[in-house]
């Protein structure tokens, strides 16, 4: 397989706050060198040194710093990371919206980037006119759009409104139409930034399916940024975790998502609760008595955690399971008094026994939290977040929260037989 994208020592610098060096003469000099002569900014080197020596005083940040990677043709790569990690900057550079401060990107094939749905849509123009406008902006030729018009309209599902100005569209219809145009781009490389966050569930699924087709059936290269971890897992084989402008992990998507949650954990566990000689700490989560956080979706299970504290009263204990979207799927709380410990002084183990939850198989994260809101001492402790993998049969169509085994039955009634007889 050949390489479709190669990124070499790619860096991008941004200046925070006021843009300009401060004085007109320096500004003019800089302007002359960068804009007129086309040389890179001479003040960058200064900034870099500054950044290392006195961290925090420099108003220059590296949004991306010395990134290197290669992507093979036909690969689907999910890029994950927290807000501000540099994901979007990377996509912007790849799609030529802005240019790198240093380093280079080499590409093979046409690039179509979808950093936003409906770029350039004009509210006064009709749906049809906007298909042409948006398609051209994304780099399609008119002939190409002519050929695909029916397909695009069909995919969008807004045939009825196609000659109405898009300002009269509902926002959902607007997004449908816009994605439909983008989905029909013919390019070897497709770059998609968090566009699935919009639109209803049905349409999201359609988009995901379309993107899967693009990657798997057509053998095109897909780069996908999303905060939706299950979409990443569904779509991408390879994952790239970006943190403060650097690629910190480049591996299969599953372990990348796991690493993301691991890094996302809240660090203030024990330190936070230490005050006035009191402390509170929770650690060591185990599932069914082990460190393997895997459960069958149809089995009951238990989770234990170690708790130590020093004269803690009126503690409330929480246990939370979140799905890949960060939504709580389970949220339980109880006061320590209710389970027989009014005062926590020393080491304890908490165990929570759960029935079979029938969660849709996938990756979840779970953690414990303890809040102590008394007048004399208030504090909280949060355990590490651990990934809980729920295994079980996957319902092909389902993105529902739970997926229990159910019994289906059909029973013919008196009237049914009569209806059948009439039909025959």
């Amino acid at each position: 397989m050949s390489v479709a994208i190669r990124v070499e020592n790619l860096s991008k610098m941004y200046q925070l706050g006021q843009i300009g060096t401060g004085t007109i003469s320096l500004d003019l000099e800089r302007w002359f060198i960068t804009r007129v002569m086309g040389r890179p900014d001479p003040f960058v080197r200064l900034a870099e040194a500054n950044d290392r020596a006195v961290k925090g005083e420099s108003n220059i940040v590296w949004s991306l710093k010395d990134i290197n990677f290669e992507i093979e043709q036909g690969e689907a790569v999910g890029i994950i990371g927290k807000n501000g990690a540099g994901k979007s900057t990377l996509l912007k550079l790849l799609s030529r919206v802005t240019s790198p401060t240093a380093g280079r990107i080499k590409l093979k094939g046409r690039v179509a980037s979808l950093l936003e749905v409906g770029t350039g849509f004009h509210p006064e123009l009709s749906g049809r006119e906007n298909i042409y406008l948006n398609g051209s902006i994304l780099g399609m030729r008119k002939r190409e759009i002519d050929r695909k018009l029916d397909e695009i309209v069909d995919f969008s599902g807004v045939e009825r409104y196609i000659d109405t100005p898009v300002k009269r569209f509902s926002s959902g219809m607007y997004v449908r139409l816009a994605f439909a145009v983008a989905a029909h781009l013919e390019s070897e490389i497709l770059i998609v930034d968090e566009v699935l966050a919009v639109g209803d569930a049905e349409f999201q699924k359609k988009c995901l399916g379309k993107m899967q087709d693009i990657g798997k059936r057509d053998g095109r290269t897909v780069l996908f940024v999303s905060h939706n971890m299950s979409a990443i897992l569904e779509l991408c084989k390879r994952g790239m975790l970006i943190e403060t402008g650097e690629v910190v992990r480049d591996s299969d998507a599953g372990s990348c998502v796991a690493a993301f949650f691991e890094r996302d954990k809240i660090h203030n566990g024990s330190a936070n609760g230490r005050r006035r000689n009191r402390f509170l700490d929770i650690r060591n989560i185990s599932v069914n008595g082990g460190q393997r956080y895997q459960i069958d979706h149809s089995s009951p299970f238990d989770v234990t955690v170690d708790l130590s504290g020093n004269d803690i009263r009126q503690a409330t204990i929480f246990f939370i399971i979140e799905n890949a979207f960060g939504q709580s799927v389970l949220h339980k709380k109880i006061s320590s008094a209710a389970i027989g410990q009014t005062v926590i002084d020393g080491d304890f183990q908490i165990r929570i026994d759960l029935p079979s939850l029938w969660l849709t198989p996938g990756i979840y994260s779970m953690y414990f939290k303890i809040l102590v809101p008394t007048d004399q001492w208030s504090g909280r402790a949060i355990s590490d977040r651990v990934n809980l993998e729920v295994i079980g049969p996957m319902e092909p169509s389902g993105r529902a929260f739970i997926n229990p085994d159910v019994d289906w039955n059909i029973r013919a009634l008196e009237s049914a037989r009569i209806a059948e007889g009439v039909a025959i």
Partner: protein, 285 residues
């Protein structure tokens, strides 16, 4: 080993710095359909939900002509080289409006389209080019008004004549468009960082009009300012335009050649600065 063979045939290499002299003509050509789409968008969105629609294209030059005739012709009594006053002013206004529209609309192209530019790549030059083209439609409509006016004066016996120079008309229009485009490109590249310039544009264009032979003929210009007025590349173009359609004005190979050279130089500088700016303007705008 594979690396070596790969590096031979990349379709695109994105780097921080590019060649200084890169006009990107072929890339612009590849996106010509987009240019037409933008022209269509401008045109359709202009008159949608207006009652008079494209009629608005007539109203502005018509009223300006009436006001100029009243103020400069009747009150100030400026010479019109013996031409009917409305015809004289309208010739100047029609040509000047096209040039001025090209400048002012082009000069805000980065600011107005920051949203699109920040999300998708296409050769940025497409947008200024589409502005010049869609203004051409507007100019065409205004030319119809001007020709209608000529017809009226021909019937009522106004003194003017169409000369051979009318064959130069396409060249004159092209030069006006390119001069407006070139200046607009320079201004827009600079306003991405220094917004103050955009306030100067409307004002500056208006001042420039008084330095051009729009409201007075070159023959009536005071001797000591004449050189200054002739240094303005638009003067040669407007004079030639008026000579072509009305038979009055100073047409010379010298002045026209001068305008052409200045126009092409400004355009070249404009395109180069514009292409420089487009690489990273998203970060500064």
């Amino acid at each position: 080993m594979q690396n070596i063979s790969d590096s031979e045939n990349w379709d695109l290499v994105i780097e921080g710095r590019g060649p200084l002299f890169d006009l990107k003509i072929s890339e612009v050509w590849n996106y010509r359909d987009l240019l037409l789409m933008f022209v269509k968008r401008d045109f359709v969105s202009f008159y949608k939900q207006t009652v008079l629609g494209p009629l608005w294209f007539f109203i502005q030059p018509l009223f300006t002509t009436i006001i100029f005739t009243f103020v400069f012709g009747n009150l100030a009594g400026l010479s019109t080289d013996g031409l009917p006053q409305p015809l004289f002013y309208m010739a100047g206004i029609t040509a000047w409006n096209y040039f001025a529209d090209c400048i002012t609309k082009t000069s805000t192209v980065f600011k107005d389209n920051a949203n699109i530019f920040g999300k998708v790549y296409f050769p940025r030059l497409i947008l200024p080019l589409s502005i010049v083209t869609s203004n051409l439609v507007r100019f065409g409509v205004q030319m119809l008004l001007f020709i209608g006016m000529m017809g009226y004066y021909a019937v009522t016996g106004g003194s003017f004549r169409i000369t051979w120079a009318i064959v130069l008309f396409p060249v004159l229009v092209l030069l006006m468009a390119l001069l407006g485009l070139g200046l607009g490109l320079i201004i827009t590249a600079m306003t991405t960082k220094y917004r103050d310039l955009s306030f100067l544009v409307t004002f500056g264009v208006q001042l420039l009009m008084y330095m051009t032979t729009v409201i007075y003929p070159l023959s009536a210009a005071p001797e000591k300012y004449k050189t200054l007025i002739q240094l303005n590349p638009m003067t040669g173009l407007i004079e030639a335009f008026r000579y072509a359609f009305l038979g009055q004005g100073e047409l010379s190979a010298m002045s026209l050649g001068y305008s052409a050279v200045v126009t092409l130089s400004i355009l070249l500088i404009g395109v180069l600065i514009f292409n420089r700016t487009e690489r990273s303007f998203v970060d500064t705008v």
